[in-house]
């Protein structure tokens, strides 16, 4: 799930350079929709797709106005967006959504593991294909210099939106996995900005704009998270991740991937898409 979530952010934030801090909104929408659709008796795969589509449709509505904002305004705008949704759903919906007892009785982690593995592999494959395609070139050129890309005839608005939609679809899928995985959830919690920041931290710790980065980052993140929550009082691990994030950004902008490359004593050339 973390791999899918972080890859989805990687597309818009890492490759296209649009730091979307409203990612939790799409994660939450995907989770809520998948949950409701699934529980209404629709087969699970369809529920996943429907949930992701809800996130994408909302992404379309948001994308048009949001990309009129540039730089820091885009960052703040998306952050606020997720907060608005969080408050709305926290107010409107019941406090906790527990799985019906029939499903709860049969709850097993094994299918849940495989479902999230399959979706994670699919999302990695998607990023891999994009990274080697024309769309990948367009996205990275926008990250590198939007004005120059525009001057070369790249419709930057259009490609930012395309990247955004793919990204929101995948975030919706990640939300769907969570909806399927968790036995009980609070609607508001699904929209917590922590989902956004988890994704951002994973991508940065792993390596921004690379395909392996989010995978390495996710494994590292989940292991460390489990370890820390075992030994530290509740909640402190978030602070540790915050500190870790700052350290990585300051001293290792290429993330763990860069560290590994350096350790292998290769030329510290940054790959753009591998």
């Amino acid at each position: 799930m973390y791999i899918t979530l972080s890859q989805s952010w990687n597309i818009i934030g890492g490759y296209t350079g649009q730091q979307n801090l409203g990612h939790a909104a799409f994660f939450g929408l995907g989770a809520l929709s998948t949950r409701y659709i699934w529980l209404s008796g629709i087969p699970l795969p369809l529920a996943f797709i429907a949930g992701a589509l809800v996130a994408t449709i909302f992404g379309t509505l948001i994308g048009f106005p949001a990309f009129r904002l540039k730089g820091i305004y885009f960052v703040i705008g998306t952050l606020v967006l997720a907060e608005i949704l969080r408050i709305i759903f926290d107010t409107l919906l019941p406090r906790a959504m527990v799985l019906p007892s029939k499903l709860l009785a049969n709850y097993s982690l094994i299918p849940r593991y495989y479902v999230s593995l399959v979706i994670a592999i699919l999302s990695i494959a998607t990023v891999y294909v994009i990274g080697r395609s024309r769309l990948g070139l367009e996205m990275i050129s926008i990250r590198e210099d939007e004005e120059a890309a525009e001057a070369l005839g790249v419709n930057t608005q259009k490609y930012k939106l395309v990247a955004f939609l793919i990204s929101t679809f995948m975030a919706g899928l990640a939300g769907g996995i969570y909806a399927y995985y968790s036995s009980a959830a609070q609607p508001g919690y699904l929209f917590e900005s922590v989902w956004t920041f988890d994704a951002v931290i994973i991508v940065f710790v792993g390596g921004v704009g690379t395909i392996i980065g989010p995978i390495v980052g996710s494994v590292f993140f989940v292991l460390l998270q489990r370890l820390l929550s075992l030994y530290l009082p509740g909640g402190i691990h978030v602070a540790v991740f915050g500190a870790l994030f700052i350290i990585v950004v300051l001293f290792l902008p290429g993330g763990l991937i860069e560290l590994m490359t350096k350790l292998r004593k290769k030329i510290p050339k940054r790959e753009w898409s591998s």
Partner: protein, 241 residues
């Protein structure tokens, strides 16, 4: 027959109270190499930004090939066949040289969709521009000269009919400048119309078929290089009265 490719009428642009361009008329014929000169702050780069759609004029219109382009976005202007280089080069730093040019080749006025074919054409452009053999270099490692070359390569890869070169020679050593002049000639003889902004007088006198001088946003002289450098108004604008 001479064909008009660019027609600018009554173009005005002000930034707040500062008038950058005032009621400017310029026409350029197909195949010309027009040098655009003027003291610092006279509005040359503003003019480029207006033509390429980065800025919108307050008044006046720009026609390219007989069609109005004033309301187009930069990428649309480029797709119509006008390319530009930036005075401060704008490479995609963390991409290879080839990827930089590929972005241009796959968009622009005559985009190639096929990856292999686009790559072949980009190789040819890079060869022409003097960057052959550096295809897989990461641009961040480049020095000034190669960055300027890349800037031109990218502009060419969009297959323009009109190319705007913004201070391509500044910062080059004399031998490098010779190369650059040759390059501009080659581009010109391939049928691309050029408008060149340049501070290096020697270079611009040598290449231009016609010079336009602007000062404080107004056109003060126009003609062959010889006519222009002997024009009293031009001498005053540059040296003071």
């Amino acid at each position: 027959m001479v064909k008009l490719i660019l027609e600018i009428k009554g173009l005005s642009k002000a930034f707040g109270g500062l008038v950058a361009l005032k009621d400017l008329d310029i026409s350029v014929n197909e195949g010309e190499i027009v040098g655009l000169i003027g003291p610092n702050g006279s509005g040359k780069t503003t003019l480029f930004n207006l033509i390429s759609g980065v800025l919108k004029p307050d008044k006046g219109e720009i026609k390219f090939n007989g069609k109005k382009i004033t309301d187009l976005k930069p990428h649309e202007v480029c797709q119509r066949g006008i390319a530009r280089t930036f005075q401060l080069t704008k490479p995609f730093f963390h991409m290879t040289v080839m990827q930089n040019v590929m972005v241009a080749r796959m968009h622009g006025s005559d985009p190639v969709r096929d990856w292999k074919e686009a790559e072949r054409e980009c190789e040819r452009i890079l060869e022409l521009i003097g960057l052959g053999g550096k295809n897989s270099w990461i641009v961040a490692t480049f020095g000034l000269v190669d960055r300027k070359r890349l800037e031109v390569a990218k502009a060419l890869a969009t297959k323009p009919r009109l190319l705007l070169l913004d201070e391509m020679m500044s910062g080059l050593t004399p031998p490098e400048m010779e190369d650059a002049i040759q390059l501009v000639r080659t581009i010109g003889s391939s049928g691309i119309t050029l408008i060149i902004v340049e501070h290096v007088m020697k270079a611009i006198l040598e290449i231009s078929s016609r010079l336009i001088v602007i000062s404080y946003g107004e056109k003060i002289a126009e003609g062959t290089p010889q006519e222009v450098i002997h024009n009293q108004k031009v001498i005053e604008a540059y040296l003071g009265e």
